[in-house]
Subunit: 341 residues, 2 copies
DNA sequence: CTGAAAGCGCTAACAT
DNA sequence: ATGTTAGCGCTTTCAG
């Protein structure tokens, strides 16, 4: 067994097999015009040395990698669920999956945050991935030679194919549920203001309130940014008020769960003293106590659709649809009840 | 606004700024020896063109990327939870995270399966990542110039730093719980036979059985491979028997949940007719009905420890420990009860 | 059938 | 202070 002191390159293989690197390359890529005996000899050396072509060098040279890239700001529950769907859909397609996570670092400064996916996509620079899925991107006006699909994107014009769910309808469902239970002072703990989904959920909230003739107290509209810490702070401000709301519609489950935590911390019982509805139906929504009433969004399916669309784009086929919007529905669990009890 | 027809390279920037590519490179990398005026001019062009250095070209040249790679066979619940921990730990370290998923393709043929991480690591070939975390690898005898840490690895000698949990103890806990409830015919739905964790969980099972003086029926020892489908088939075989067990210890939660499904399908009530214990405590273990009694393994913490160790290795520091083993404990929920009860 | 050479985009000596 | 050059590992003409 030969032990290389360092990583083995095509050169090592060539030298050991007594041929040129060009010949080795041809063997690797199964090109014609190599003598059968040579192929065997080279192949033996490749096996012996455990050689694998460098992905980096290859993709600098070629522009085809059979890799699909997914760009996420962070691995929170939503993107995690989405990734499961993406991974499932990618199976048996012949593509491999590479996930880039900005690691949440981007959220420190908004200036860095906006456009991170553009920068990262530029860094990929038409190599390393044949196409990319952008998850909750802050911007979709990306200039990329590789095809791109956006999931739950930023507000604005979409020249990029998009996957999302019926956020407006979902927002209305959640709100109608609270109203039907008898709530009047209903707070909205909004999402990331730059995301289309957050705006639509708020819009659904307002429509449902208006339709029921319930006035919206603008003082009860806060921003949770889809983030636990921000949401907890907002929830505390909300629940510390003497005229606190009897119900909160949180724009995602992470915010809703944070709200429940704060409520318990303040000695409020959920749902007796405060009803909470979330949005997303992430696995965690069943882990918390009480189990969360929430709007179900088919997150994994969204991932599957994103993959399907992207592969069609990569293959230069006409995509079935340029904007996929999946249905949402309400899942009633234990975090909501009639006010006062 | 200048619109490039194709992706912009360092050459485009150099030409437009009227300098050489070397100068642009120096500006990008903040090297000394560039006139302030030149820096400004180049920077302006970079901003104008929206240039970002190609990660691929850079890492072919350098051998430092500030990227940590994680290799997973697939995104199932365990690896997903682990990734959350890894992502959290990597935040604010200055590293970025790239996750490679073999997309489950590897599991088709065992010959392809074994050593996939070795092949992939070779393809990375000392570029693109400064170090890697291998999740449930089939082999750890990797030759990589970049440091490597293994989580829940293959059986065998570990020259690679390893993170796992107290699998033996956990297996014993689960089994003791069933015995304490009064079960005698206890089946074991084992894990992936190549993984150390699966062997240790089985060993824990056998020890607890022996300690309690309960005989092990070897016919009730099956392999679920940590995979839902395989586990479901095994569970069916098990529960179809006239002398079926009254309890099953499944070596991971995915197997346990599959077992519960099969049981209900066969008209068996859980836990009245069959008790089921899992292992892992993944979020899904609370989603299923009945909620799963399981052995808790601090998956996210394992990810954090893996990152910590890897970064120490990358920095050429002595790692705190070369084998981290985290504690496990039993979480009793609703899938277990006294037999016939 | 095989190899020499150019070049993908970038950086680091080494000139000038 | 700036530019020229070589080369990271690979693939692809194009000669031999």
């Amino acid at each position: 067994m030969w032990q290389p002191s360092t990583r083995v390159t095509i050169r090592d293989v060539a030298e050991r097999a007594g041929v040129s690197v060009a010949t080795v390359s041809k063997v690797i890529n199964r090109r014609y015009g190599v003598a059968a005996a040579t192929v065997r000899r080279v192949q033996d050396v490749i096996d012996e040395l455990g050689y694998e072509a460098s992905l980096v060098a290859q993709s600098l040279r070629n522009h085809r990698t059979n890799v699909i890239g997914v760009l996420v700001t962070d691995l929170e529950p939503f993107s995690t669920e989405l990734l499961k769907g993406i991974a499932a859909a990618i199976r048996n397609t012949g593509y491999e999956l590479v996930i880039y996570s900005a690691g949440g670092r981007v959220s420190d400064r908004m200036s860095e945050h906006v456009g991170w996916e553009r920068r990262y996509l530029s860094r990929l620079n038409g190599t390393l991935v044949d196409g990319a899925i952008l998850v909750t991107p802050t911007v979709v006006e990306v200039q990329s030679d590789a095809p791109v699909v956006a999931v739950d994107p930023h507000t604005g014009s979409h020249d990029v194919p998009t996957i999302d769910s019926e956020n407006l309808h979902g927002g209305a469902l959640a709100t109608e549920h609270l109203i039907a239970l008898g709530h009047r002072r209903i707070a909205l703990l909004g999402g990331r203001p730059d995301l289309e989904s957050a705006k639509l959920r708020e819009q659904g909230f307002r429509r449902a309130m208006a339709a029921a003739g319930v006035p919206v107290d603008e003082g009860l509209i806060l921003v949770g940014g889809y983030v636990a810490q921000v949401s907890a702070d907002a929830a505390r401000a909300l629940l510390d008020r003497p005229d606190r709301p009897t119900a909160v519609f949180a724009a995602n489950d992470v915010s809703a769960i944070a709200t429940i935590s704060v409520a318990r911390e303040l000695g409020l019982r959920v749902p007796q003293d405060l009803s909470v509805v979330g949005f997303d139906n992430i696995p965690e929504s069943v882990l918390c106590t009480p189990r969360l009433t929430t709007v179900n969004q088919p997150i994994q399916t969204m991932g599957e659709r994103a993959v399907r669309t992207l592969i069609q784009l990569i293959r230069n086929e006409e995509p079935e649809s340029t904007h996929v919007s999946l249905a949402t529905d309400l899942v009633v669990r234990e975090s909501t009840a009639a006010p006062g009890g």
